[in-house]
Amino acid sequence: AQDEKIKIGVSIPAATHGFMGGLNWHAAEAEKRLEAAHPNIDLVIVTADGPEDQASDLEDLVSVQQIDALVVLPFESEPLTEPVRAVKDAGAFITVVDRGLTDPTIQDIYVSGNNTEMGVNSAEYIKSRLNEGDNIVILRGIPTVLDTERFDAFMGAMEGSGINVLDDEFANWNRDDGFEVMQDFLSRFPDIDAVWAQDDDITLGVVEAIKQAGRESEMFVVGGAGMKEIIKGVMDGDALVPVDVLYSPAQIATAMDVTVAHYTSNGPVTGTYILGAPLITQENAEEFYFPDSPF
Amino acid sequence: MSNAQGIAEQAVLSAHRISKSFGEIPVLFSIDFDIKPGEVHAIIGENGAGKSTLIKVLSGIEQPTSGTIHFDGKAVTLPPNGEAEAMGIVLIHQELNLAEHLTVSDSIFLGREIKKYGFLDLAEMRRRSAEVLDTLHVHVDPDARINTLSVADKQMVEIAKAISRDARVLIMDEPTAVLSVGETETLFEQIRRLTARGVAVIFISHKLDEIMDLADRVTVLRDGQLIATVSTEALTPDSIAQMMVGRELSNLYPPKHEPDVDAPVVLSVRGLQAPGVNEISFDLRRGEILGFAGLIGSGRTAVAEAVVGLTHKTAGEVSMNGKAADFSEVAKSVAAGLAYMTKDRKGRGLLLNMGLQPNLTLLTLKKHLKGGFLDQNSEAQALERAVRRFDIRARDASVRVGQLSGGNQQKLMLGKTMESEPDIIIMDEPTRGIDVGTKQQIYHIIAALAAEGKSIILISSEMQEVIGLSHRVLVMREGRLAGKLEGAEIVEAEIMRYAAGIKQGGDDERISA
């Protein structure tokens, strides 16, 4: 009976911070939904703590789970290119999510969030609200490729705007670090007009620090990802966090959907699906609000 | 005993005007000392007199503050950390100095392993270890780990280690403190064998009869000063003692008061079984000193530890004052007024890296609580009391216990045990490493305690001590009671006969083959 079933491996990073938690949740939900809808599909989700761990997971999916297809969100692009190629060579259908491999010919489907666009859209919004000579601070994530991509794109877009970037520090996609780094920015800089927090977990910490300092009216915060609490705030017209930039953890579900579709629909499914990183404002927030998601 | 033809003219190792201070505290004052090949030179002196310090200087472990050392007639600076062993100066430390996790054979060859093609020749080391151990009549497995050995066996391993090295000068700091007569005899045989080959031996002991027996010359230290170096023939035990302590030592043992045969039994042990203990039964009466004699490893310690709840007994009953007293942990036995003083002061008795005060009160800390908090004044008073009562000499009260002289550590441990004011005290080798003067004091304390109505179990490998103090003596052999002696029967020959298994029985029928 096993042989008739189509086995799809899903390899994602472990739920170590909010965004990845959301991603894990969406993956688990999609598994339940898809397995219920398609009895001949078996999805296997494995989570990794780092690139080498993920490479091991991929080996296991081939050798013991003997998967027919793989949906993978690589921890890092370059180190996982070869391991994914090995899965491909073992005959599996490959869907890559979010972080592209260095060799795009490996993948059959690419579902992309868009870190560059996320950085650019955040910068565009901040530019639209501020004037020359205004000051912003930046809280970054963990020093990794994806963080660097976002940051570089953001800085590129800010160039020539005349807005000063006072400083940037890593806040490790963590609320506590966001809180503490923002506290220190607040004691250091008497005039801050906006904060690019880049991630909604960090945003929550930043907001608390600003409230503690009583400087809510002075600045606004732009986060990213699309956490339900933040979207709710945007919907309700929160002045401190007026917008959010989508970088949805639901992209993993999309990727799983299209991969399953490859086996269940009549035509072959391949190609690239760019989800984009749209700006979420009070007007469109409703579309992005999923109150049941843990993220 | 003298070994006239073995003693060459020239000293192999000599020290001239050696002084040593630890920080600002002087310990040795301008000492002259020399040792010739084939000679046994004993160093004696009170606890804290500086004997151990002197031999540490002589072996390079400590560097003298001033003075010179000559080796083979040449002035040398001895290398530190036991590297002088390469020159043939081998030291047995007063305190056991073995790494607990190593095996016996590893320990014996530590630092000078035998190698074949660069790898350890384990078989050879094992073989040679077994050989040395055999000459010492020690029956421990060369592969046994040190932490499974008894204190006496550890001491024998240390001796084996030293003997197995190619020593020209062999320095032994109280090697016999934990040994009983038999082992001591074997050791002396080996020492005589070595001196016959021209090895020079420096020997420290508080047992004056051993000194008389073994040494050619004796050096007496007092308070860090050299009192005299004399040839043994010119001495009697009494005159040595007098030189050491600076006063006459008339009666080492206090007069025994008559045992009260009608006194109530305070501790009764029936059919005790535990690791190393086989079917032991005995009674202890109020005001009685009950001696436990036997060879090393005969199970005396094991009995004591099972009685106070340090080890699990597998069968048998213990009762105190007629009530069942099956202690599952030591705290309970201490609370019930039964205290055990271990013989392993370094491994079981004292926290070497702590000061005197916390060590003294550790067993009885609850007594020093005021409103739930530690009352340091009361602790300090306790220390003062103990220092007076047991004549604990620390040149500096801030020293860590590990820096105390061996005898003073022992006195501190005695003080610690007595702090719990027990009704019954089991003393395991209570005078281990204690000088004659203090020994006398301690004997008087023990006798006084008995006279006060306390009861004492005295475990000792020093036959004279057992004979001199005990009202009754139990002799153990291989975990069993081999004999029971009372009154005039308590003589050395009789004890030895039971201990060695030559004579069996006693008044207990259960003691059979």
Binding site: G21, W25, F179 | G23, L362, L365, A394, S398
Partner: protein, 340 residues
């Protein structure tokens, strides 16, 4: 003779103790000067308050760790335990809000749960190390994984957030002050004082040192070794619980990312403070300073731009090693002086 020697000894000991306490303090003072030179705002009241408040979490946990380490143990589970307790507190309080509406009782209920969980978690660590005789390192590595997983599971991989009603009541516990000193700092001060007294003025502290110094001697000295060791883990659990109680009102949430690496920071604080990792000797005062040093390093790095962000970890590492070297250095000189 020995009485006079006894008296003569007193001042030397005093000197040594002085140096020992001065070590970490000296490092902290140098760090403060460095901070001030890099950015005078470092000594602003706001920043000082921030540092103190932040150091409270690690500090309180580290006070507990001082006992565990002094008694020869180690607890790697504290960070995960904090996350777990925070998570359960939030779940429980949210449930209470749903069932009875938000009130002071909700918060007290949460706090009660936290204390029970802390004691329970500590007991489990203690029980497994003493009764099941499994190495503390392994036991707490295990429970570390277990607690972290459980929070992730409870939070469905996401974040557990405290219901707004309870949040509003609870918030002041972190953000408000008494005599211009924030409550978390008060709790820290209290824990430090109680810890100091426990370590230096009670039989329990003495027992911890004795056990860490030589377990055999402790046992032969009628100390209930297993019980005391278990008590250190329970104390550690209690400290984690207290830290969590002041942590939760800060952001009102818990997730898999809560308390990551706190164990390392807590142990580092303890050891920077002069307690020995091998046990036998514990200094609560040093631990408090150790926690302040660690927090101050992080703060200083945020206050200056001269160092690439990527190198933060390196600077942190260098400062920690240098701080400990400094204090050990001064300690050694101190000892030498005392000895000469």
């Amino acid at each position: 003779m020995s009485v006079s020697a006894h008296e003569g000894a007193k001042p030397a000991r005093g000197l040594r103790i002085d140096f020992k306490t001065l070590g970490p303090l000296l490092a902290l003072i140098l760090l403060v000067i460095l901070g001030y030179l890099l950015n005078p705002l470092f000594l602003g009241e706001g920043n000082i308050t921030n540092i103190l408040t932040r150091s409270a979490f690690i500090g309180i946990i580290a006070v507990g760790a001082t006992f565990v380490i002094t008694a020869g143990g180690i607890d790697l589970s504290v960070g995960s335990m904090a996350a777990f307790i925070a998570g359960v507190m939030i779940i429980v309080m949210n449930w209470a809000v749903g069932a009875m509406g938000a009130s002071l009782w909700t918060v007290l209920f949460g706090i009660g749960c936290s204390l029970i969980l802390g004691v329970g978690a500590g007991f489990i660590n203690g029980f497994l190390t003493t009764k099941a005789k499994i190495e503390a390192f392994i036991v707490t590595l295990g429970t570390m994984g277990i607690y972290r997983s459980l929070v992730t599971y409870f939070a469905d991989g996401g974040t557990l957030s405290l219901a707004t009603g309870a949040r509003d009541i609870y918030r002041p516990v972190y953000y408000d002050s008494f005599l211009r000193i924030p409550y978390p700092v008060w709790v820290f001060i209290l824990v430090a004082i109680v810890g100091w007294v426990l370590m230096n003025r009670t039989a329990f502290g003495r027992y911890c040192m004795a056990i860490g110094s030589n377990e055999h001697v402790a046992r032969y000295s009628a100390i209930k070794v297993d019980r005391v060791k278990t008590a250190t883990y329970i104390l550690q659990g209690l400290c984690v619980s207290l830290a969590t109680i002041i942590y939760v009102p800060r952001l009102g949430s818990a997730s898999a990312a809560t308390g990551v690496l706190w164990e390392l920071e807590a142990i580092a604080a303890v050891i920077i403070g002069g307690t020995m990792l091998k046990g036998g000797f514990g200094r609560v005062g040093g631990t408090v300073i150790g926690a302040l040093i660690l927090t101050a390093i992080g703060n200083i790095l945020n206050l200056t731009e001269i160092i690439s962000n990527y190198l933060n970890g390196a600077v942190q590492g260098v400062i920690i090693v240098a701080a400990v070297y400094l204090q050990r250095g001064s300690l050694r000189t101190g000892r030498k002086k005392a000895a000469e």
